[in-house]
């Protein structure tokens, strides 16, 4: 290891001397350089690892890997390494996948059932530092009866299990017998996806080259470079300098590209919500009247326009409007309804005091609202909620804290939340609103308890029948709309700036997490650029 590094440092030292000599005459125009047909995209968040077992691109669209299934432009499951969408047994406890022929890893070896088994068994192994294990707690075992068949055996019937099969498959040969937590594979992986990894310079960029033997067809471009630029302003400036074909930008920075020749701004709908968790353990937020009043007192339209710069939509529940399971009847007014909120509080006995703050039985309607201090978006939303609450006589004290200060207080103080995936309502509701998970870390931190919601959540995952599931989630959504354990504020839109010479861009509803995987460039292997 020492030799290449020292050579590189020497080369770099020479470079530094050249820089000092002021060889600015060697400057060449930006953009258009490098190999023809290589697309450059820029994002803020860099993955820690490129190994799906350790949480890289677990929901698919990871560019480097394929799952048994993947998702199309409408987030519907389509077969990938599996020949067809895997079948589920009548009792829901056995899932069988048959692999397609001719899928190869980047090293030329075929994808076999053993590779699938290896991948899922590694996730379940407690010695491996995978947080994905929590999402697969229904999986009892995975076996390969022959080279092209994989059988998953579940501990209990779990309706959305197929959604968990988008996890990228790794070649067993490349990892067997190694410590997967520390394997070199995590930096230089071998997958079966449309691109293979040429190099990864952490903190700088990931260089991917087209996989010419991709089972899904040769990618339409020669390769992709993903530039990692953590700072929003710096990324915007480099996009302006013409370095990127596509870049994710904060809405207000992206607005600067509106009407700029050569660029298009894409606002992509998401399941990425922001809301306020109201703990039952607090005497003020524990009162349903206060929660319902706050729910109608907040001005969601103003938050979308002011805080998000228009890049969002009002939220009324955890299931995003794009989901087939979204219940339309829970949608309320986007604006604030101060009169309705005041009516609810009056009826419950919360009377305005001399300082304008309401009180009941000598207790003031006041509580703290925590937000992670580094998150400016949640801070602005917390301040907006604070201002709206003041208009109806509730005093909120916003507190910006670090997560280690927030976590022990979640049972008593309100918290600005943000998460969401569009794939299945179970993922975003079961552990968050189920009384069985009350006060278990981030799962149901406010200890919301409702027998109706619990039953609906269980029905939603136990039954495979779509109509039964839809009915269960309708019941659940109506119940939490009535109980208001959280105030849902907005769904974000992720904004991207794309060069208008790029064709093939197909936005689809995005989850909270989007970096190399699952961003606007989920189908970049079909993108081309006119030169």
């Amino acid at each position: 290891m020492g030799r290449p590094v020292s050579i590189r440092v020497t080369a770099a030292a020479v470079a530094g001397v050249l820089a000092l000599a002021g060889c600015s005459s060697s400057a060449t125009p930006q953009g258009g350089g490098g190999r023809a047909g290589t697309l450059v995209v820029a994002t803020a968040v860099e993955p820690d690892t490129l190994n799906p077992i350790l949480n890289y691109g677990v929901d698919g669209a990871s560019l480097i890997f394929d799952g048994l299934v993947s998702r199309d432009a409408r987030n519907e499951l389509v077969p990938a390494l599996a020949r067809e969408v895997p079948t589920v047994s009548a009792d829901g406890k056995k899932v069988t996948a048959r692999l397609r022929d001719g899928a190869l890893f980047h090293d030329g070896s075929p994808v076999t059932a053993q590779d699938v088994v290896f991948t899922y068994r590694a996730v379940l192994d407690p010695k491996i530092d995978s947080t994905l294990r929590s999402d697969l707690d229904m999986l009892a075992s995975v076996d390969a009866p022959d080279a092209t068949t994989v059988v998953f055996t579940l501990k209990y019937a779990y309706a959305p299990f197929l959604q968990r099969l988008a996890l990228g498959i790794v070649p067993a040969k490349a990892l067997a017998g190694q410590d997967i937590n520390k394997a070199e594979f995590n930096r230089r992986p071998v997958g079966s996806g449309p691109y293979r990894v040429t190099s990864w310079t952490p903190g700088d960029r990931l260089v991917l080259a087209a996989n010419e033997t991709y089972w899904g067809g040769k990618p339409a471009n020669a390769g992709v470079v993903v530039a990692f630029v953590a700072d929003d302003n710096v990324r915007a400036q480099r996009a302006r300098a013409g370095e990127f074909d596509a870049a994710e930008l904060a809405p207000k920075l992206a607005a600067g590209f509106d009407g700029l020749a050569g660029y298009r701004v894409h606002q992509v709908s998401t399941a990425d919500y922001r809301g306020v968790m109201l703990p039952m353990g607090n005497p003020v937020t524990g009162d349903p009247a206060v929660r319902r009043a706050l729910n109608v007192a907040v001005d969601r339209a103003a938050m979308v326009a002011g805080v998000l710069g228009g890049a969002g939509e009002p939220a009324f529940g955890p299931v995003p409007p794009s989901s087939a399971f979204a219940e339309p009847s829970i949608v309320g007014k986007a604006g604030a309804d101060v009169a309705a909120a005041a009516g609810l509080l009056d009826a419950a006995g919360w009377r305005p005091g001399p300082d304008g703050i309401r009180a009941k039985n000598g207790r003031q309607a006041a509580f703290a609202l925590m937000y992670p201090a580094g998150d400016s978006l949640r801070k602005e939303l917390a301040l907006a909620v604070t201002a709206d609450a003041k208009k109806v006589g509730i005093r909120i004290t916003p507190e910006g804290l670090t997560w280690d200060a927030i976590t022990p207080r979640m049972g008593r103080d309100a918290l600005a939340m943000g998460y969401g995936t569009p794939y299945d309502p179970d993922f975003i509701t079961y552990k968050l609103f189920n009384s069985a998970f009350a006060a278990q870390g981030f799962f149901n931190p406010g200890s919301y308890r409702s027998a109706v919601a619990d039953k609906a959540l269980n029905d939603g995952r136990d039954n495979a029948d779509p109509a039964t599931r839809t009915a269960a989630y309708a019941t659940f959504q109506k119940q939490i709309a009535a109980d208001v354990p959280w105030i849902f504020l907005t769904y974000l839109r992720h904004t991207y700036v794309v060069r208008d010479t790029v064709t093939g861009v197909t936005p689809r509803v995005e989850p909270h997490e989007h970096d190399v995987a699952n961003s606007l460039w989920w189908n970049i292997h079909t993108w081309t650029r006119k030169s």
Partner: protein, 354 residues
Amino acid sequence: MTATTPDGDARPATPDAPASPPRARRRSRRLAGAGAVVRRRLLVAVPVLAATSLGMFALGAASPIDPAQQYAGAAAFTTSEENLAQIRANWGVDDPLPVQYARWVGNLLRGDLGWSTSRHEPVTSVLAARAGWTLLLVGAALALVLLASLLLGTLAAYRRGGWFDRALRAGAYAVQSMPVFWLGLAAIALFALTLGWLPAGGLTDVTATGTDPVDVARHLILPVGVLAVSQAPWFVLFIRDAVADSLRDDHVLAARARGLPGRTVLFGHALRTALLPFLTLVGTHLPELVGGALLVETVFSLPGLGAVTVQAALGADFPLLAATTLVTTVVVLAANLATDLAYAAADPRVRLDD
């Protein structure tokens, strides 16, 4: 400081003495104690480094941050307590502090700096991949600062109160009041966006296939320039004042009186006297330069140690933090030693005591 200035040792320079042999002898005598000083400093460095690393681990034990939760990131919302506990057990981060520290020191003695939980790779490979870029940035900027401040400061001192002096001082005060971050963004706006002369960031062109030295050099002009400009005011103002003072010293006045040319007097006599305290300033300013480099790396998206250090601190990644702290401590100790040795070499009155 072990360098002392015993008054009895101060001898007047003899201008008429034959040039080379005695001078060489004198210089070698001046550095006679260097070996002993280096040895003694190395002995002192061991407890300093031990105390620094132990301090890092004590902070880690006192920190309420859960490294497993940081590791999970957004997945923390869907990860069970049991799952996080398994990860912590794999890392051994719940072990008592003495156990963790003993394990770390044991590995260190075998040349293993440990595993970075925030970067998911060995600490040695994090340092190998990134420290070189930070050192290059700091080294190039330091060289530029030294050259520019010596030249500009001396020129300003020569015509003290003149337009150049006044402009330079005003500029220095203005730059001193600008945050590095802002300077960087302004430089990008001017040189990359408006003029289009230089790239706005990154180590190479985003589509480059390797790290070509010319490409890297072009990408480092702005970061090195910004870092140098942001650190220059201290040095420029210091040199200007020191040279202005020494221009009134007896030996400078004497040189002038002997009719030596102005340039010789300025650079050969006045600047040379002013250089001595300047060496100390460079030594003490090095940590600030490193701090500035970390910010510049962020602005210009350079893969140096800056971003990983912040990430390590936020993620309670103590193996990586301890390593970066040790590296910084070593650099500062080495800089102090080099300053003292340089002092002894440059000033005949200073003797390394042994």
